[in-house]
């Protein structure tokens, strides 16, 4: 792109809390117009990373810059480009929607004319135009989330950092939220967001899969799935627990996961192992539906990688 700098450039960011390494030499770049996901379970370092990028937590070592401004050297310059929406965004429940927006516009020094025009546009994009006079405390969870986003965007930041923005939000509101995020990309904003839900990774352009403060993989979701060593075989069955006992000991089966429709088996090679799986099932006389290779999910990749990691550490 024509941009001289990546919107976000993180180099070897590291942070410990009382001797515990929370973020371990984390490096990534995000470009304008991109949704970049920090994906991992609680305690994997997502929030600490976002707080360092937002300039509210100094790293122990490493660098980060936003639109070319070094966060440590030029914090004020960097902050003008960033908006940070923490898990609990500070909305004033006893102020109306419009009043909350005005409050944040004033904090960020947005002129009145600019503010009114921007607020109108954002409220419309969020389908919230009729709710300007409603008290923020009276909004549903999904609408509060959207109002938080509007307030965070009022000063036209070039990078927005969202910490688990869809946590506790139902799927309908979650899709709505994502629709709004995507509509911002046309303005050339870069979105860095964290989530503990691996299925949400699918919605990002690129993700960094985090575990214990370091990056397991960093790539587009569709490329991540090609990184699983082996294949996933799905067996449809009404008796998954019995079936698991039968199949766990088959050679080449690396991992067995119960799912509602049956089992997911991670095997070294689908072609090689499916005939043996079929034979075992017939011998044990467990009724099954189909047995077929399916595309791995990001969760399959995460589990397989982390288990290999911990096997290596504690053989």
């Amino acid at each position: 792109m024509a941009e001289p700098h990546p919107a976000i450039d993180a180099i070897e960011l590291t942070k410990s809390f009382s001797g515990v390494l929370a973020v371990d030499r984390l490096s990534f770049q995000a470009a304008a117009g991109e949704v970049f996901g920090l994906v991992g379970p609680d305690g994997s370092g997502k929030t600490t990373t976002l707080r360092m990028l937002a300039g509210v937590l100094p790293p122990d070592s490493g660098f980060a810059s936003v639109a070319g401004c070094d966060i440590a050297q030029d914090p004020e310059g960097a902050k003008a480009h960033i908006s940070y929406m923490p898990q609990r965004f500070g909305l004033y429940e006893d102020l109306t929607v419009d009043e909350n927006i005005r409050f944040y516009a004033d904090i960020f020094g947005v002129s009145r004319m600019e503010r009114d025009q921007r607020a109108r546009q954002l409220l419309q994009a969020a389908d919230m135009s009729p709710f300007g006079n409603r008290l923020a405390g009276k909004l549903s969870g999904g609408m509060k989330q959207k109002l938080g986003l509007i307030c965070a965007l009022i000063h036209r930041p070039s990078v927005i950092l969202l910490d688990e923005p869809t946590n506790g939000v139902d799927p309908v509101s979650r899709r709505e939220f994502w629709r709004i995020l995507y509509s911002l990309l046309a303005e050339g904003i870069a979105i860095v967001m964290s989530t503990a839900y691996l299925d949400e990774a699918e919605r990002c352009h690129r993700v960094a899969l985090l575990h214990q403060g370091h990056i397991l993989f960093c790539d587009a979701p569709s490329n991540l799935k090609t990184k699983l060593r082996g294949a996933v075989v799905a067996v449809i069955s009404n008796e998954p627990r019995r079936l698991r006992e039968v199949l766990a000991t088959v050679e080449g089966v690396l991992n067995v996961v119960l799912v509602a429709s049956g089992l997911h088996l991670i095997v070294d090679s689908a072609e090689l192992r499916i005939p043996e799986l079929r034979a075992r099932i017939t011998d044990a006389n467990v009724p099954v539906g189909s047995i077929e290779q399916v595309a791995p999910t990001i969760e399959d990749l995460f589990v397989a990688t982390v288990q290999r990691d911990s096997n290596r550490r504690h053989p």
Partner: protein, 318 residues
């Protein structure tokens, strides 16, 4: 299975708060040893139903039997028959592991004769043997969650309620947790899960989706994905995505369109016909199509299709 008395029987259950009908004539049954998922958006009536089933809230009309006891008449007995665990885990962080277990044992009136045996069982199940004196607040999330589960079933209830039990937990602890839940179900415990996370719902034997106080679909996760929604799902990879989305949003054949990373998910009445018609239309607008074809529905697609539309019209009334 069918000859057994269901663990939970709900008939025409209604709860009204003033003029607002939170739960509107819902009926269902959950069987012994079944993992039963109860899904719905925020404000759909999920929690109100659970609170009635736990004997915490009196129904306005209708009946509910839990382990054979009427939730309106036998509230105390109902409460002794259930275990409850929420996403917040309701453990005391400043108590040790063993103090938490003893506290819950006292609350559930576990007899002293079996207390030692139950304590051993919980410690073993949670993988916390040897860490009895650790402060609960210092445990990692996965361990806390298993401890909370152990505390919720100390008194061996036939019915266990789980409220978003694995939100925020790492996938490995989560799989471990669901293994434990499946073991309990094998022993005959009926497990009632409420969640709006579709990946949790996938672990259930049977699901009920509730929206605006009414049941809108029920069945196994597989049945719901295959039959609950009219129409088929298409994946479209193309450039530029925004233009394609604007174009497809207004197309009468496209029932829903959502962005997933570099692709769109479209719900259409008939997949192949839609591809044949829409592909030339996209190309004519200068859009480069790299992938366009049917994909299987996810539970989230089903959920959004069944609960999304009416939410919108409800907003417009305001």
């Amino acid at each position: 299975m069918n000859h057994e008395i269901p663990s939970v029987v709900v008939r025409d259950l209604v709860k009204q708060f003033g003029n607002f009908v939170a739960v509107d004539h819902i009926s269902f049954e959950a069987h012994r040893g079944e993992i039963f998922g109860f899904l719905g958006p925020n404000g759909s009536g999920k929690s109100t139903t659970i609170r009635m089933l736990c004997g915490l809230l009196r129904p306005t009309a209708g009946h509910a039997l839990v382990a054979g006891y009427d939730v309106a008449r036998d509230r105390e007995t109902v409460r002794q028959s259930i275990g409850y665990m929420s996403q917040k885990f309701s453990l005391y962080n400043d108590l040790t592991v063993i103090e938490n277990i003893r506290f819950f044992a006292g609350m559930y009136e576990v007899s002293s004769a079996i207390l030692q045996q139950r304590i051993g069982w919980v410690l073993n199940m949670a993988g916390l043997s040897g860490r009895e004196l650790a402060l609960t607040g210092t445990l990692a999330v996965g361990w806390k969650q298993r401890l909370a589960l152990g505390c919720a079933v100390l008194h061996r209830p036939p019915i266990l309620f789980l409220d978003e039990p694995t939100s925020g937990v790492d996938p490995i602890s989560r799989r471990h947790f669901w293994d434990l839940i499946h073991q309990l179900a094998d022993e005959g415990v009926t497990v009632f899960v409420t969640t709006h996370y579709m990946d949790e719902a996938e672990y259930c034997d049977r699901l009920v989706m509730i929206h605006q106080g009414k049941i809108v679909a029920s069945g196994s996760p597989l049945e719901l994905k295959q039959h609950a929604v009219e129409g088929e799902l298409l994946l479209l990879e193309c450039e530029p995505l925004g233009l394609a989305l604007d174009l497809l949003h207004t197309d009468p054949d496209v029932l829903d369109a959502a962005v997933f990373g570099n692709a769109l998910h479209l719900v259409v009445p008939q997949a192949m016909a839609a591809v044949a018609r829409l592909r030339p239309c996209l190309t004519a607008h200068g859009i480069t199509v790299t992938k366009f074809g049917p994909i299987p529905m996810s539970l989230e697609d089903v959920f959004v299709a069944l609960t999304g539309k009416r939410v919108k019209s409800a907003n417009q009334e305001v």
